[in-house]
Every structure is written in C-alpha cells, then in structure tokens.
C-alpha cells in the first residue's frame, strides 16, 4: 500500500529565481583572505623555527599554501553561482554551498521567525543575511549576503505574509 513516485521524466528542482548581491563575492573573498593570512602567518613562523627542513615539509607547506590560494580564487565565485533564493507567496526556497549543495524549502505558513543579521564587515559591503526559522531546529533557511536594501524589503514582505497565518506552526 505504498505510493510510488509516478513514472515519466524525473522531476528536478529548478534554480531559485534570485542571486545574492554581487558584492558578496568580494566579501567572501575578503573573509577567506583573512583566514588564509592567519594560516600563512602560522605556517611561516612554524617553518622558520624548524631546526632542519626535510624536503617533504617544504612540499607540504607548498601544497597547503597552494590549496588556500585555489580556495581563495574559486570558492567565492562558485559560491556566488550556487547561492540562490526565492520567496513566493507560499514558500521560501534557498540553495547554498560550493562543494556540497543544500536546497531548503519551507512553507510560509510554518515560519516562526524572520531574523536579519549584519556583521561589521558586512555593513562595510552593504550586505545583510536573513534567516527564516520554523518550529524545527533542523530547518532554518539562511539567505547569506543580500544587498541590505533588498534584505529589508524581503524581511518586511516575509513578516507581512507570515503574520497573516494562524495556528502554532507545528
């Protein structure tokens, strides 16, 4: 007595309609760059104080530095391409990640809170993140690094829609 998915062409989720702010690329690159700088500094100090430097230590150092550079160059761009969002009158849909992917969908009738957050660096870039939570701890939807004007509009829109729903959303 199980309902199996119907035959025919396999359904797929389409891309959510909107991209985040293009400034997010620079923001992600800057934050990743800060992380990379700290890593390099630690590695350089470690390498400098080593009494002797076998070839494989040098190789390891080069590999790690190379990996952070690749991360710095590729991650923000891929992330920007992957990271998309959409709000319809009935649901929110987000897609995020860069190596892994995660798509989240929540009906607005089950939304409990709409939060926005803006760190100091994000403010400098004019960015803002929105988090939509439901009654499940497993299901918060985050739209990272929206243009802050858009973000405020989206928050207002979401608050208006969710405010009109009744029930305790569980």
């Amino acid at each position: 007595m199980t309902t199996q998915p119907t035959d025919g062409p396999p359904p797929t989720l389409r891309e959510p309609a909107n991209q985040v702010s293009p400034r997010a690329v620079s923001y992600w690159r800057l934050t990743a760059g800060i992380g990379a700088l700290v890593t390099w500094l630690a590695l350089a100090i470690g390498y400098a104080v080593l009494p002797q430097r076998p070839w494989w230590v040098t190789l390891l150092l080069v590999l790690v530095v190379g990996a952070t550079i690749v991360h710095l160059v590729l991650m923000p761009r891929i992330r920007f391409r992957v990271h998309r969002w959409e709000v319809t009158p009935t649901a929110v849909h987000t897609r995020a990640g860069w190596l892994s992917r995660e798509e989240r969908i929540a009906p607005l009738s089950r939304v409990q809170t709409v939060d926005s957050a803006q760190g100091a660096l994000m403010r400098a870039f004019g960015l803002m993140s929105i988090t939509v939570t439901t009654a499940s701890a497993a299901g918060p939807l985050t739209i990272a690094c929206l243009d802050s004007v858009t973000a405020r509009a989206v928050v207002a829109e979401l608050t208006e829609i969710t405010g009109s729903h009744e029930g305790d959303a569980t």
Partner: protein, 542 residues
C-alpha cells in the same frame, strides 16, 4: 486541601486592557501552594545533596578540633531545613479560565504563564519517598520547545485532578475551532513584556466542560514473558561498564606478574579458571542487572488512549505517568538494536511536540517485534506505516554504504602494520587482521544498505535507517514543516541526495539517506503536495 492564605503581593496582570466581550468577569482564583508535606521532603533532599561534602568538611575540621564540628552540626541541620522549606514557601500557582500561572523565587522572582490551550503533555512522577507521603510531581509540557513547568509536589489526588482538567481543557479548546491558538510564538509569556492579551479565542463563557471520561482503550500492558528480552538490550551496559572499570583498579594488586618458573604452570591454570569464573560472574551479574532494571522501570506498564490523550504508566518504586495530547504525536520510531533483533525483539517510541527530553518518549520496553509493530500501528491509528515494504535506494546507495563501512578498515591498516612491526608479531597475522576487518565492513555495509529505504502511505512518510540496528521512523505527512535536499561532493558525483523532512516533533528531522536526486524531489512532492511543486523545473510541470 490546604487553606492557603493569599500572598502579600497583589494579583498582577490587572485587566487594564478593555476586554472585548467579557460576559461575566470571572474572578481570579486564589493562588495555591504546593503540598505541605513538601516541608518533609525538601530538607531530606537538601541533606542528601550535601551529605557527602558536609561529612568530608566535618572530618577535615574534626581532625583539628572535635568540638568545632559538633557545634557546626546543628547549624548545618537548621540550614538544610530552611533551604528545604524554601520551594514550598516561595512557589505559588493558579489556574484561571485561560491559563496556568506559576510564581516562584525568593530574591529572583519568576512568573511563568502558560495558556491552557498550549498544554501538550502532563507527566506525573512519584519517587518512593513521594509515594510514602502520597505526593506526585507534576510536569507540564507546553508548546513546541523544551521549557516545561514543574510543580514539585502536589498530593496525588490534586495532581491527578490537575492532569485531567488541564488536558480536558486543552482538548476542548483545540477542538473548539479551526484556529486553536495564536500565531505568535511565545508559549511561555513573560509577564514583564506587557499585559496578557485578554481576548483569547478560548471560548469565554463556557467553563472547562466536564467531559465525561470516555472509556479508556488499552493499547498495551506489560507481559512478563517479555522479560527474556531484557538481557539483550544494552542500554544499561554503561552502568555495568562503569562498575567494571572501578573494580579493575584493584586488579593491579593481584600477583599476576610474580609468577616465577615453578609457579608459572600452576598459575596459568589458575588464571584460566579465574577468567572463566569472572566471565560467569559477569554473565550472572548482567542478567540480574538487566532484568532487575527492566522490572523496576516497566512494572505494571499500561498504555491507554483516553479522551484523545495517550497515557503511559509504569514503575515499581518510582511511578511515572506520561500523558500526551494525541494530536501532538506526529509519528513513531521502531528500533531493533542488533542484539535484540537476533531474538526477535524491538523497542518503540513516539515523536511528539512539547514533551521534553528531545521529543521522543519510549512507550514500550524491549518486546516482541509483532507487539511493537501492532502498538505502533495503534498509536498512529494506521497499521500501514509499520507494515509497508520499504523501497530501496539502488546500487549506487549500496556502493556508498560499502565504501562508508570500509573507512574504519583503511584507518586501521597503518596502526596494525606499525603495531605488528613494533611488537614483532608474525607478518602473516597482518593480512588476516585486515581481512577480518574488511569482512566485518562488508557485513555492516550490506546491513546498512538493507536497512535503508523509504515508503509513503496515505498519511505517513516512512524512513528506514541504521547500520547494525534497524530503525523505522514513521512521520505524519501533516507534521512535515519543510524540506532539505542535501548533496555532499561525493553524493553529487553519483546523483544521490539526502532528503530531510523537518518537523517540530521528536528529533525535529527525519532523514532519507542516499536517494537518487529525482526520486528525492518526487518523494518530497508526493509527501506534501503543492509545497515543492512550484519550484519544480518547468519542463516537468503539469
């Protein structure tokens, strides 16, 4: 009952807000206190808590000056009495038409207000001491989060009365209209945030309807034939392991390493005997502990359905009674731990909102699989989720299961080789050990693939999971409040995805692992029609 003098503070929350339609302004009932017998339990509890450090302190002081410690003893006793009486002195509660209010605290005062239509579960618990005095602790679960209101303690009759009226009230209000409660989140309202909205849709004018207690339908009752499953459930093994660990501290004292040439042979024989003896003792001890624990916890187990509530009572010394509003039970989980499964046993728990302890309540002890299945079906009011054949996830999912199961083998190879080299163990043992590990991996990998699966019944989403133990989770489709489609880097290469149904009940999510992506999307759409549909690729719509 106790003639409680009203406390000195005036009743807060004066109805300053003009109420829309107050037919007859119901006077606030008086604040009630906990049971007076708590004055006995409180100090006992405090003394028990502080006995150990106090004794140590007394001994410490006693060695320097004996009179000091004797002088201190009465002071400690008085302190314990005062501290133990504090909860009784400072806790008040009352039940108005629409809400339950609890006030407590001496210096830091808190006041918790819970709308009655938010009451989801009421637990009564009585330890041996409580039972001797005829008391029960009442714990009330509200809303979707883990904040619970505890009243420790009321007399057994008052507690029972509170349980019945609270839940009847909750049932009455939640069936009185399509929109039982407000959309806002705060279940526990902070009194300092402003006056409570008075115009709740809690059907004013109709006081708690005295619903005649419907006949209770019994879903399960303890059957002592189930006791044979107790030793196969390892949940109590942790305690035993701790005891063994403590005992092993003394093994250093055994003269094992003093075996010299003449004694060596004799001792090695004795050692074997000792080992057999220890093993036998461990087995007997395990049987006693596991079965004893089973009896103590599940004595007189009854699971009944009454007035749209599910009620579980059990316990030999400490009696527990858990009552959950049935509408809040969003699913059940049937677990067959590996050992229990060998003998055909299973355990059952419910996934609910507002019950605390992670939202899951174990409702059946280790018992025969058909019993657990039957009760699961009865709780869900639909036998299909427990019986449905699970749709398996295909050869790619199987490959991932096997790869995952071999990770420990790969991790272990290096230490095994190094260990063999360092200890001078013959070389041929290394491949044997690795092969053994790999074979175990093959078995667990295949098992975890066999356990993987999903099914969709008219009302429930069913997910199968577990590596060595088999778990079947059935979640009400109506309780799904969102979807997550997750693909790791490796899953993407294989076109697989993990589908997560988020919910407010139980562990707040149900995972269907390693599903082909298209099937994951189709399953989400089929389980909650319309929600995912608008995000489907246009080519496949209609």
């Amino acid at each position: 009952m106790i003639p409680d003098p009203p406390p000195a503070t005036p009743p807060p929350v004066p109805p300053t807000v003009p109420t829309p339609v107050p037919p007859t302004p119901v006077p606030y009932p008086d604040w009630e206190r906990l049971d007076r017998r708590m004055l006995l339990i409180g100090p006992v509890r405090v003394i028990r808590q502080f006995a150990f450090p106090a004794v140590i302190a007394l001994i410490g002081i006693g060695t320097s000056d004996a009179r000091w410690s004797l002088g201190l003893l009465p002071a400690l006793l008085v302190g314990a009495l005062a501290l133990g009486a504090l909860p009784w002195l400072t806790t008040y509660f009352r039940r108005t038409e629409t809400q339950l209010e609890v006030r407590r605290g001496l210096l830091h005062r808190t006041r918790v207000t819970a709308p009655l239509d938010r009451v989801r579960s009421v637990d009564l618990e009585a330890s041996l001491l409580h039972r001797i005095l005829g008391l029960s602790t009442v714990t009330i679960g509200t809303g979707v989060d883990d904040t619970r209101i505890e009243l420790d303690s009321l007399s057994a009759e008052r507690a029972e009365h509170l349980r019945v009226t609270l839940l009847q009230r909750a049932a009455a209000t939640s069936t009185s209209g399509p929109a039982p409660s407000q959309a806002e989140e705060g279940q526990i309202v902070d009194p300092h945030a402003g006056p409570m909205p008075e115009g709740q849709d809690a059907t004013p004018g109709s006081p708690a309807p005295a619903v005649a207690a419907a006949p209770a339908e019994e879903l399960a009752r303890i059957d002592w034939k189930w006791l044979r499953y107790a030793p196969f459930s390892l949940s109590r093994l942790v305690i035993v392991a701790g005891a063994v660990g403590a005992l092993s501290q003394f093994t250093d004292e055994l003269p094992l390493d003093r075996a010299e040439s003449a004694w060596a042979w004799l001792l090695s024989q004795a050692l074997a005997l000792v080992l057999v003896g220890v093993a036998a003792a461990a087995l007997v001890g395990w049987l006693a502990i596991s079965m004893g624990g089973y009896v103590v916890r599940w004595w007189d187990l009854r699971l009944v359905r009454q007035d749209a509530n599910l009620r579980l009572t059990a316990g030999l010394f400490t009696t527990r009674s858990t009552t959950i509003e049935e509408a809040r039970i969003r699913g059940v989980e049937l677990t067959e731990p590996v050992l229990l499964r060998l003998v055909g046993g299973a355990e059952l728990s419910t996934l609910a909102t507002g019950v605390g302890s992670g939202g899951t309540t174990t409702i059946l002890p280790p018992c025969p699989l058909p019993v657990a299945r039957g009760v699961g079906g009865a709780v869900l009011e639909d036998p299909r989720p427990m019986a449905a054949t699970l749709r398996q996830h295909g050869h790619l999912a199987r490959r991932r299961c096997h790869v995952r199961a071999q990770v420990p083998t790969l991790v272990a190879v290096l230490p095994i080789v190094a260990g063999a080299y360092a200890l001078g163990i013959p070389g041929w043992l290394v491949p044997v050990a690795v092969l053994l590990l790999a074979a175990t991996g093959v078995i667990t990998g295949e098992a975890s693939y066999r356990h993987l699966g999903h099914a969709l019944t008219p009302d429930h989403l069913v997910a199968g999971s577990g590596d060595v133990s088999r778990v079947r989770t059935a979640l009400e489709r109506d309780g799904i409040i969102g979807w997550v489609v997750r693909q790791s880097f490796f899953q993407r290469r294989l076109g697989l995805a993990t589908l997560v149904a988020t919910t407010a009940a139980g562990p707040e999510q149900v995972q269907v692992v390693d599903l082909p992506l298209a099937e994951a999307v189709a399953l989400a759409e089929a389980a909650t029609p319309g929600l995912v549909g608008e995000f489907l690729d246009a080519r496949f719509e209609g």
